[in-house]
Each structure stands twice: as structure tokens, then as C-alpha cells.
């Protein structure tokens, strides 16, 4: 225990480092500047502002802002980058809630209830609870990394292809559960998402699959492209239908309080706690664990709730749980990087890139060799989360005010921001056109009462599922029993089967959900 305190002390010492600044105009008087705190603050602020642009998700934001950290000293650069990362994550949640545009897989679930809350004039509480939940989750996860980082690494190494496949199967079941309408249609959407994720090149042979010789499709459809089309553009087109405008104006009039009420806080506390636990565990698993954290949390809330029919219609628990899980996972996904030196996902790979540019090559010994770096980063995670709370609670007012801009001016602006956003991810005009096509597809899906969220999740999980299935079969030389003989995998499969039964049985018996849709409109 004492070790941890001294380590954390070292970390906070690095973060709270003061540099004496002696500006000429003060005639030699020097002022102490908390450089690293400032860098963290700037990082979180810039990250939020870029992440909030529709179309630009976490990976794109970090990739975009990476070069601005190159000129800084290594520790400062990494602290700033961590700030950017948290900021971008939170910024993505903001667009999900305000305009129904998830910037990354994790915030798809936030959009479900967050946007409904915004429509009911409760964007303020939704944003605030997201910030509070994230902060709490961030604090817990920071402590967890400090205390259990090294032993938890074993979990990351215990997960082989077979375990990942089973985890992804479980993830797909989660995607069914979070649908609010017909289960049959939700499953169809997941399968459609899986099918879309097959576009691109085959991982094992490199053969081009359903890409029709379009070079931009050679690597598959981008998440941003699809999310922007199915959520962003489709929502705009739908709003432009007759009646949409008046619907919108109604929303703008009934904006109520900015902060969550006492009841909101009480309702959100258990989801935040459960979300934090789930997110912390799933975040450690490299390559896909963090992706399913937010909807695992959402599914759990919907299952334990006494009023599951409220989910998808503006339940604050549906924002609090996934947002906490999301942030906890974002934090614990640093564990494999800090203890093994192996980046578990694309954002972490960028972090490693930033480190190499500064001449630090992370590896299993980075904790012993560069303790001030590792512990400085861990401490800065907590500071970064605090910054997010400090930056975002006041910003809630501004974001909500933004909703009052007349829709006739807002929608072309969103179209432009989305277009520039998608374009700048890969500098590819084709991506913009593809997003437009998916906008029309999304419009059609809305008209036929198909939900886009399961589609998007199928799309995200598809490659992970197929690749791990194939890897597992390659390694086992075609023996399918590995999924049941490896204990971790068997446990995951059992949970998936149980959850499926729990979900399908009640919907077969009655269609209470659909009755609800009609009585509310």
C-alpha cells in the first residue's frame, strides 16, 4: 500500500511541477507556472472542442492533434495527449446528446436516451450527468490502475482469439437487448451491420470483398462515415419532413433546468456505480473490450430496471451508465500500454507513436525505467477528468443555448461540419459521398421502423468477431470445441445464452413495447 502512495505521490509531483517564468515585461520577477496542469487543461479543452465537431471521433481527434504535441517535452506531451483523449471522448458524447451524432462506437448508446432527453428539453441534465458519471468513473479507474494495474495485465494476456470471439457473441446479444422495438427487426439490423462490416479486404487472404474495385472501399466502410450517415444526415432529412420543423421548435421552447434534479441524481447513482465496474473490467481487454463496455452497461441497466420500457425514451439511467462505463474503460485501456507496452486499440497505438517520436519506446519495463512518466500519466488521468468536469459543467449552458439556434440555420451548418469532418479523417471525398448515401438509407430505415443503433454495433463488432473466430479456428486447426473447452470462453458463452433466453422469452409472450410507442406519440 505504501508503495502505491509513494508512486502516486511521484506522479502528482510530476503533474504539479512548476516552472519559473521570467517575462521581460515584469523586469525580472519570475512567476511559477504549473506547466503540466496547463497542458492538461489545454489538451482537455481543445480535445472537447474538436471532439464536439460532428463527424470527428476520438481517434480522428487524437490523430489530428497529435502533431501539436511534438514540440513539447515528453512528459508534457503525453499529459496533454491524455487530456486531448478524455476531452475528445467527452466531446463525442456531447454531439450524441445534442444532435444524435455519435462520434465513436461507445457513444452510440449514449445517443439513444441522451438525444431523447434533449428532445424533451432535458439536454442540460443529460450533459451534466454524463460529465459527473465520467468524472466518478475516471476517479475509480485511476485508483484501480494505480493499485491493480500490474496484476490486471494477466487478464489481458489470458484473452486469446477464442475468448474474444465469445465476448463478441455476448456483445451482439447486448445489441439485441438495447433495441426498443421488434426483436426480429433488431436482429436483422445487426446482421445487416455484420454484412456491411465484411466489405473491404479479407484479413487472411487479402482478397477484396464486395468492394467493387472502389479504392476507398478497399479497407472497408469507416465507422464515422456510417454513423454520420445513419444518424446525422438521416436525422436531418427526417426533421426536414413536414412537421419536423414544428416538432423541433417545440423542443426549443421547453428547455427546462440545466442541472440534474435531486431525483435525477438518486436515479443515476446505482447506474454510475455499475457502469464504472463493468467499464473498468472490459477496458483492460485489448482489441475490443472497451467497445462493448458502454452497451454492456446499458443492457445491464435495462435488465435490472423496474421500468425497462422507459429506456430509449429519455431515461437518465440510459445516459449515466454507458457514459461512466465508457470513461472507466477509456482509462483502464491504458493498463496494457503501461504494463506491457502494447497498445490495445487505435488510440493507444497513436499514443505509442507519440512516445516513439519523443524517443520513449514503451515496453514491459517502462514502469521501472521511467516511473515518472508512467505515474505522471496516471496522475494526469485523474487531473484530466477533473478538468473535464471543470470545463464541461459551465459549457452545458452554452451547448444547450446552441440548440436554440433556429433549425433552418442549424441543419445546413451540421451538414457542412459533418462533411468537413468526414473528409478530413482520410482526406477522401468518396467517404463524404458514402455518408450521404447512408443518410438516405438511414432515412428509409427510420420510415420502416428499423433502428440504426444495432446496425452500427453489428458493424463495429463484425470484424472483431470474424477475425477472432478465424484465428481461433486456425490455431485449433479447425476444432470448434475450443469455445467451450477454454473456461473463460465457456463462461462468456453461457452468459450470452442466458441473456438471449431472458430477452427473447418475454417478447414472444407479449408486445408491450410497441403499445408504448403509440401511446406516447
Amino acid at each position: 500500500m505504501g508503495d502505491i502512495f509513494s508512486n502516486l505521490g511521484l506522479g502528482f509531483g510530476v503533474v504539479f511541477q512548476f516552472v519559473q517564468w521570467t517575462p521581460a515585461f515584469l523586469g525580472g520577477t519570475s512567476i511559477p507556472i504549473p506547466v503540466n496542469i496547463l497542458l492538461c487543461l489545454i489538451g482537455a479543452l481543445v480535445g472537447t472542442l474538436v471532439g464536439v465537431l460532428p463527424g470527428i471521433g476520438t481517434i480522428a481527434t487524437v490523430a489530428m492533434l497529435l502533431p501539436i504535441t511534438f514540440g513539447l517535452p515528453p512528459v508534457g506531451a503525453l499529459i496533454m495527449l491524455a487530456g486531448i483523449y478524455y476531452g475528445a471522448q467527452y466531446g463525442g458524447s456531447t454531439t450524441s446528446i445534442l444532435v444524435n451524432i455519435p462520434g465513436e462506437a461507445g457513444s452510440v448508446v449514449t445517443a439513444l436516451d441522451g438525444f431523447q432527453m434533449a428532445k424533451q428539453g432535458r439536454a442540460g441534465p443529460a450533459l451534466a450527468i454524463a460529465a459527473i458519471g465520467s468524472f466518478f468513473a475516471g476517479c475509480v479507474a485511476t485508483v484501480l490502475i494505480a493499485i491493480l494495474g500490474a496484476p490486471l495485465t494477466k487478464l489481458a494476456l489470458a484473452f486469446g482469439p477464442a475468448e474474444y470471439f465469445s465476448l463478441m457473441v455476448l456483445g451482439l446479444i447486448f445489441a439485441v437487448v438495447l433495441a426498443k422495438g421488434s426483436v426480429l427487426k433488431a436482429i436483422a439490423m445487426i446482421v445487416l451491420g455484420l454484412l456491411l462490416s465484411m466489405v473491404g479486404s479479407d484479413i487472411e487472404t487479402g482478397a477484396s470483398r464486395m468492394a467493387f474495385n472502389i479504392p476507398e472501399l478497399a479497407d472497408g466502410l469507416g465507422f464515422a462515415t456510417l454513423a454520420m450517415g445513419l444518424f446525422g444526415f438521416a436525422e436531418i432529412i427526417r426533421n426536414l419532413d413536414a412537421g419536423g420543423e414544428s416538432d423541433r421548435e417545440l423542443v426549443q421552447q421547453k428547455v427546462t433546468g440545466l442541472m440534474p434534479t435531486r431525483k435525477d441524481m438518486i436515479d443515476s447513482t446505482p447506474p454510475i456505480l455499475r457502469g464504472t465496474v463493468l467499464g473498468s473490467i472490459l477496458g483492460i481487454l485489448p482489441g475490443g473490450g472497451a467497445v462493448i463496455a458502454s452497451f454492456a452497461a446499458y443492457t445491464l441497466e435495462k435488465k435490472v430496471s423496474r421500468t425497462p420500457e422507459k429506456f430509449g425514451r429519455g431515461a437518465i439511467q440510459g445516459v449515466a451508465a454507458p457514459e461512466s462505463a465508457n470513461n472507466a474503460a477509456a482509462q483502464t485501456s491504458f493498463i496494457p500500454l503501461l504494463t506491457l507496452g502494447i497498445p490495445p486499440n487505435a488510440v493507444m497505438a497513436l499514443m505509442v507513436g507519440a512516445m516513439t517520436i519523443h524517443g520513449i519506446v514503451p515496453g514491459p519495463q517502462v514502469m521501472q525505467k521511467q516511473p515518472e512518466l508512467v505515474w505522471g500519466m496516471i496522475a494526469s488521468m485523474w487531473v484530466g477528468n477533473l478538468m473535464l468536469l471543470i470545463i464541461n459543467l459551465p459549457l452545458v449552458g452554452i451547448w444547450v443555448r446552441l440548440l436554440r439556434v433556429p433549425y433552418r440555420l442549424m441543419f445546413p451548418s451540421i451538414v457542412i461540419f459533418c462533411s468537413i469532418g468526414i473528409y478530413s479523417v482520410n482526406n477522401a471525398p468518396t467517404d463524404v459521398i458514402l455518408a450521404g448515401v447512408f443518410g438516405l438509407v438511414g432515412y428509409w430505415l427510420i420510415k420502416h421502423d428499423f433502428e440504426p443503433a444495432p446496425l452500427l454495433l453489428g458493424m463495429v463488432l463484425g470484424p472483431l468477431m470474424e477475425e477472432n473466430l478465424r484465428r481461433a479456428l486456425l490455431i485449433s486447426r479447425g476444432d470448434w470445441s475450443v469455445f467451450l473447452t477454454r473456461p473463460l470462453s465457456a463462461v462468456l458463452m453461457a452468459i450470452a445464452a442466458g441473456l438471449l433466453v431472458l430477452t427473447v422469452l418475454p417478447t414472444l409472450r407479449k408486445k408491450r413495447d410497441e403499445v408504448f410507442v403509440e401511446s406516447e406519440n
Binding site: 489530428m64 432529412i237 445546413p412 468537413i420 471525398p429
Partner: protein
């Protein structure tokens, strides 16, 4: 300008025995997508011994989607449901045009031109647009983007048309 009435009753083109046209058409569309995917992946290799070929998974999921589409269609015949929703042409047309225009002009004409034209085209999508106001906002938004993306964020976006730079 905003005299469009709410939801006018839609005349059904569906035969009487289809009790839920929304699901019926939706299911048929899913089946169509599945058939298309089966066709598109027909040139890919199947199972190679114990390991998957490139085409195994796409065909597997396409077949699954075909079945699900059929099930949705059958449900659409058997259960009572909603009529087909009404489509509008104005919003989808102009928003799509705006996106396409942006994609086609961004590399040759630069961001200032393409962002402004796309903004104005998108604005045609709503009957409530007031042109003077829209134009001013469009110019300001373009200016804001022109400063934000290439300068503040350092993105490699070209601002002016290519012929003006050369």
C-alpha cells in the same frame, strides 16, 4: 411558407392481405440486400479445409439476413401494423445534393468555395429558409471553418481553388 399540413392520410398501394405494409416492404428490402450480397460475394473463395475462406462469413451472414427478411415479411402479412410512411422529396434531395457538391468540389475548388456552396444548397432543403440571413450565416460559417480547420487544427485542407494557387 409553413402551411404544409401535418400527416395526411396515405393511400395504400398495398393489397388488402398485407396487414403491416411497413414490415412487409422492409422485409422484402432486407431480402433484396441479402440476395445482392450473395451475388457480390459469389466470386470469393469458400471454406478451405478447416479454415474459413474470404467468402465464408459474408455468405453466412447474407443467408441469415435472407431468412430474417423472409420472417419479417411473413410477420408483415400476419400481424396488424402501420401504413407506409409518407416520403418527402425536398429535404433528402437538397441535403444529398449539398453533400455530393461538397465531395466533388473540395479537392479542386478548395474549402471556401465548396463549404459555402454546399451550405446554400443544403439551405434549399427547408421551405423556411430566409435567404439574406442564410447567406450571412453561410459566409460566416465558411470563414470560421477556414480559420478553424487549416489554421487552428493544422489540417492539410486546401482553402482556395487550385487554379488560384498555381
Amino acid at each position: 411558407m409553413n402551411a404544409t399540413p401535418g400527416q395526411a392520410p396515405v393511400k395504400s398501394i398495398m393489397p388488402k392481405w398485407v396487414r403491416n405494409p411497413q414490415d412487409f416492404v422492409g422485409g422484402i428490402a432486407m431480402m433484396a440486400i441479402a440476395v445482392f450480397a450473395l451475388w457480390a460475394s459469389s466470386d470469393l473463395q469458400g471454406m478451405r479445409g478447416f479454415s474459413f475462406g474470404a467468402g465464408t462469413a459474408p455468405r453466412m451472414f447474407a443467408t441469415l439476413l435472407l431468412g430474417l427478411g423472409a420472417a419479417i415479411t411473413v410477420v408483415g402479412v400476419l400481424t396488424e401494423g402501420q401504413h407506409l410512411a409518407k416520403y418527402h422529396w425536398r429535404g433528402p434531395l437538397f441535403v444529398t445534393l449539398s453533400i455530393v457538391s461538397f465531395a466533388l468540389t473540395i479537392r479542386s475548388m478548395g474549402m471556401i468555395f465548396s463549404a459555402l456552396t454546399s451550405f446554400l444548397i443544403a439551405a434549399c432543403g427547408s421551405p423556411e429558409t430566409r435567404w439574406v440571413e442564410t447567406f450571412i450565416v453561410g459566409v460566416c460559417l465558411t470563414a470560421f471553418c477556414a480559420l478553424l480547420f487549416p489554421y487552428a487544427l493544422g489540417l492539410p485542407l486546401q482553402l482556395l481553388p487550385t487554379f488560384m494557387i498555381r
